[in-house]
Subunit: 132 residues, 2 copies
């Protein structure tokens, strides 16, 4: 009774029809659980610069340091610190600190984050098509 309807793999660009069918195939409890998970995700992404931070990682080909992201996005350090902590706590980023001088901290996207990158990609395509 665990997850008989578990989605086998993550297909990028899931059409709404497919997801709508998925939602309707779930019973009340499973569906509430799914909605809650999505709500958590939306709450996370629905904060200042969260999507932008993800985008920076999506286009980077190496681990990123605090200063890298700060310079790229130009956000206040405390805000960036909060976002990075949240993303790390949710298992989207992995934080590795090296005990050096000067100190070095590197952030790496986890597979969980990589699985979200198509969202970023789609937003870029959308912007290229529908921008003013």
């Amino acid at each position: 009774m665990d997850e008989p309807r578990e989605i086998p793999d993550l297909e990028p660009g899931a059409s709404i029809e497919a997801v709508r069918a998925l939602r309707e195939s779930l019973d009340r409890e499973e569906r509430a659980s799914l909605e809650a998970s999505v709500e958590t995700l939306f709450d996370l992404l629905g904060r200042a610069h969260a999507l932008s931070v993800l985008a920076v990682f999506a286009f980077a080909d190496r681990p990123l340091r605090f200063g890298d992201i700060e310079a790229t996005l130009g956000v206040a350090p405390n805000t960036l610190s909060t976002r990075l902590s949240e993303l790390t706590d949710c298992g989207l980023l992995e934080r590795r600190a090296y005990d050096e001088s000067p100190p070095r901290v590197e952030y790496t996207p986890t597979p969980k984050a990589v699985a979200l990158f198509p969202v970023i990609g789609h937003c870029y395509r959308w912007a290229a098509d529908y921008a003013p």
Copy 2:
């Protein structure tokens, strides 16, 4: 010299590699324009309940009224009012007011919004796979 590299059509689930290649094919000016458009989109989506509102429309099969969304999401009316105005101003929703009593206002997603629905769909799939 207008848009020789215009993306022909919106493919759902654009891989980051493809978008990365696109970004690198653009010259400085075009790329800055794209980044600005994406930034605008991220700023819009990065507000409270914006993604949730989009999701409600993505799964609805008819125009929605203010009270529908309010009841579904349980958000404060002033916040919802602001979000709906922003989405309407950005051309994602079309607002139609009927001069009746009691008054009736319907919101319909535009093609521009429909083109964003795969983002919602992907988030649902992601949540089903990676949720706690």
